[in-house]
């Protein structure tokens, strides 16, 4: 019981900043990666 309470407490402490869920941060990082790849691809195609 004690351990469960501690784990629940840890989970409650593990709240991401700015967003409600961690998945929003993961999507943000993934979207930034995709954005960069597209941006770099366009640079490559435009200036080569």
């Amino acid at each position: 019981m004690g351990t469960d309470r501690k784990e629940n407490q840890n989970r409650a402490d593990d709240k991401p900043p700015l967003f409600r869920q961690w998945s929003s941060w993961y999507w943000l990082v993934a979207a930034t990666l995709i954005g960069q790849v597209i941006f770099y691809f366009l640079i490559t195609k435009s200036f080569s």
């Binding site: 840890n10 961690w22 990082v29």
Partner: protein, 565 residues
């Protein structure tokens, strides 16, 4: 180098060491020494992670790579954000929950002691080799360019790192890395700004981009697939993800950075911070290399970037030969300059035919330039066969010393020293803690009445530093330095990652199966490298190692029943 540069260089280095030692004073026990105070905020964790990965090689070799090979090396980092996300979801919560000292403790919790020890030993082998290279690379370039003895340079860098790492352990590493990373980022921004300002006034930023692009330096994303091509979008997204999963998830030098976070949240944010910033940072460093390339289109370029070596050749019996080569080289560069001006004009007037013709002409001269450089290198190798490293590893530093204003030269040398120190301190700290926690305390476990665990941990830092210094003083490499570090990593990381993947995703696999699968996988990877060599790009060895561990551990588990409880 004038007095101002020496003042900036040594002032910066002394400040870093004094600040780190002072701020982290008072490690009272082994736990605080190895794990740190665990009060780091997310941005501190993030900077520390970045500083650990960014060694001096990153700045010396990557800029040179940008000049020579263009910007396609940035694709190598495409897998990094994906790895950061996967680790934030999977391994990070486990490390925080188990409150581990090292990553390998988890393997004993999940499997058994021998599996933990195997992973720890593989890490010690891999990192023990790499820390030598981390120290050797900047020592080689700095000692050559500054005319110092390489032994003095390695002892200077190693000695400075020992002072604060032994004094404050993991905390000292994190604290100094914050300062080092600030100096590194500030110094590189300044270098980029100055490199651009040194271009002729008629060449605008847009012209620079278009000239560099036309001459093939903005090849950032390459979509052609080939098994032996080291850098393309496919190897970057797939194979690099495996490399970075292993490096950040199972390499103690990185794990120690984020388990020192104040909480799981801070650790996660630190990893994601790295996932957001790493690619732009590498892009910028490569772009500095491209700016230097454009700079040398309009300004006198050296036949060899290793200026000290060139001078030595000119004082040898090969003097006349090298001077003739230099005259030819200068003629070729004069043609290239004219063509670059024509190209800029064609770009301005939007004359595509003229631009294409000029580009074709330029590449003919570029071929001659490359051939003359090769000849010069061959002559230089005959005169000084012991000089290691590739010539373009010297390009950025030679540019800094020749063309940047005094004061900035000292600062940029401090950047390179800082980068060397930041990664080396993490690596030494991780090597010492793994040796202490996973080997000494767990296996040897001597009851030592004279030395406390803290004292032994400190002695292990010194021991590993001594090994690294000895290796660096004796080593000699012809491979591009950053690639050599990555190749060594790829030969071991796949297997270590495989152990963690099985631990996390395949709950039915038991200790014996995964242990022998890992041994077989490592043999398989080394055999593949021996027989295939460069025919398979090194990044794919990460996938092979990991896949063989997973597959064989499943095969070895077939038919085995769980023992009755």
């Amino acid at each position: 180098m004038i007095a101002l540069d020496w003042l900036v260089l040594f002032g910066t280095l002394i400040f870093i060491v004094a600040y780190g030692t002072w701020k982290s004073r008072g490690s009272k026990n082994m736990e605080a020494f190895i794990k740190g105070d665990q009060q780091q905020k997310w941005w501190m964790v993030g900077l520390s992670i970045m500083a650990t990965q960014a060694s001096a090689v990153t700045f010396l070799s990557t800029t040179g790579q940008g000049m020579e090979d263009g910007m396609r090396f940035v694709q190598f980092y495409f897998g990094l954000p994906l790895a950061m996300i996967i680790l934030s979801v999977t391994l990070l919560p486990i490390y925080y929950k188990l409150k581990v000292y090292t990553a390998y403790e988890y393997l004993e919790t999940r499997f058994d002691l021998k599996t933990r020890t195997l992973a720890a030993v593989l890490f010690l082998l891999l990192r023990g080799l790499s820390v030598g290279i981390t120290l050797f690379a900047p020592s080689l370039v700095l000692s050559t360019i500054l005319g110092w003895n390489i032994f003095f340079t390695t002892v200077l860098i190693g000695g400075l790192v020992i002072i604060y790492t032994v004094s404050g352990g993991n905390n000292a590493v994190s604290i100094t890395q914050r300062v080092q990373m600030t100096i590194i980022l500030g110094g590189m921004l300044l270098a980029g700004g100055i490199a651009f300002s040194l271009l002729p006034s008629q060449v605008s930023f847009a012209d620079t981009i278009r000239i560099a692009g036309t001459l093939g330096k903005l090849n950032i994303v390459t979509t052609d697939f080939s098994w032996n091509d080291r850098y393309n979008i496919w190897s970057g997204l797939l194979a690099s993800t495996f490399l970075f999963l292993s490096y950040f998830g199972t390499d103690q030098s990185q794990v120690a950075r984020y388990i020192n976070g104040k909480s799981l949240t801070e650790g996660r944010m630190g990893l994601l911070f790295n996932g957001l910033l790493k690619i732009p940072m590498q892009f910028f460093i490569l772009f500095i290399g491209v700016l230097v390339f454009v700079f040398y289109l309009y300004n006198e370029a050296p036949l060899l970037h290793n200026a000290v070596l060139l001078k030595e050749v000119k004082q040898s019996s090969a003097r006349e030969e090298i001077i003739k080569l230099e005259e030819k080289f200068n003629e070729v560069k004069a043609h290239e300059k004219l063509l670059a001006e024509n190209l800029a004009e064609a770009i301005h007037t939007n004359d595509l035919n003229q631009a294409t013709r000029t580009k074709t002409h330029f590449f003919l001269y570029k071929q001659q330039e490359d051939s003359l450089r090769r000849e010069a290198k061959e002559i230089a190798m005959e005169v000084a066969p012991n000089v290691g490293g590739q010539d373009h590893d010297y390009a950025f530093l030679n540019f800094v010393l020749t063309h940047l204003p005094h004061g900035v030269i000292g600062l940029l040398l401090a950047v390179i020293f800082s980068a060397a120190m930041s990664s080396m301190s993490s690596e030494l700290s991780a090597l010492a803690s793994t040796t202490m926690v996973d080997i000494y305390k767990r296996i040897i476990n001597l009851k030592n009445p004279w030395l406390s665990d803290l004292a032994i941990s400190k002695m292990l830092v010194v021991l590993w530093a001594f090994i690294a210094i000895s290796f660096a003083a004796m080593a000699n490499f012809s491979e591009n330095l950053i690639q050599f570090v990555n190749i060594v990593g790829s030969l071991f990381y796949g297997t270590i990652l495989g152990l963690f993947v099985v631990a996390f995703y395949f709950k039915k696999v038991k200790a014996d199966a995964v242990f022998w699968a890992a041994v077989a996988a490592e043999v398989c990877v080394l055999a593949c490298y021996y027989f295939l060599g460069d025919r398979l790009a090194f990044l794919y060895y990460n996938i092979i190692g990991c896949a063989v561990v997973v597959l064989l551990s499943l095969v070895f588990s077939l038919g085995k029943k769980e023992p009755a409880l």
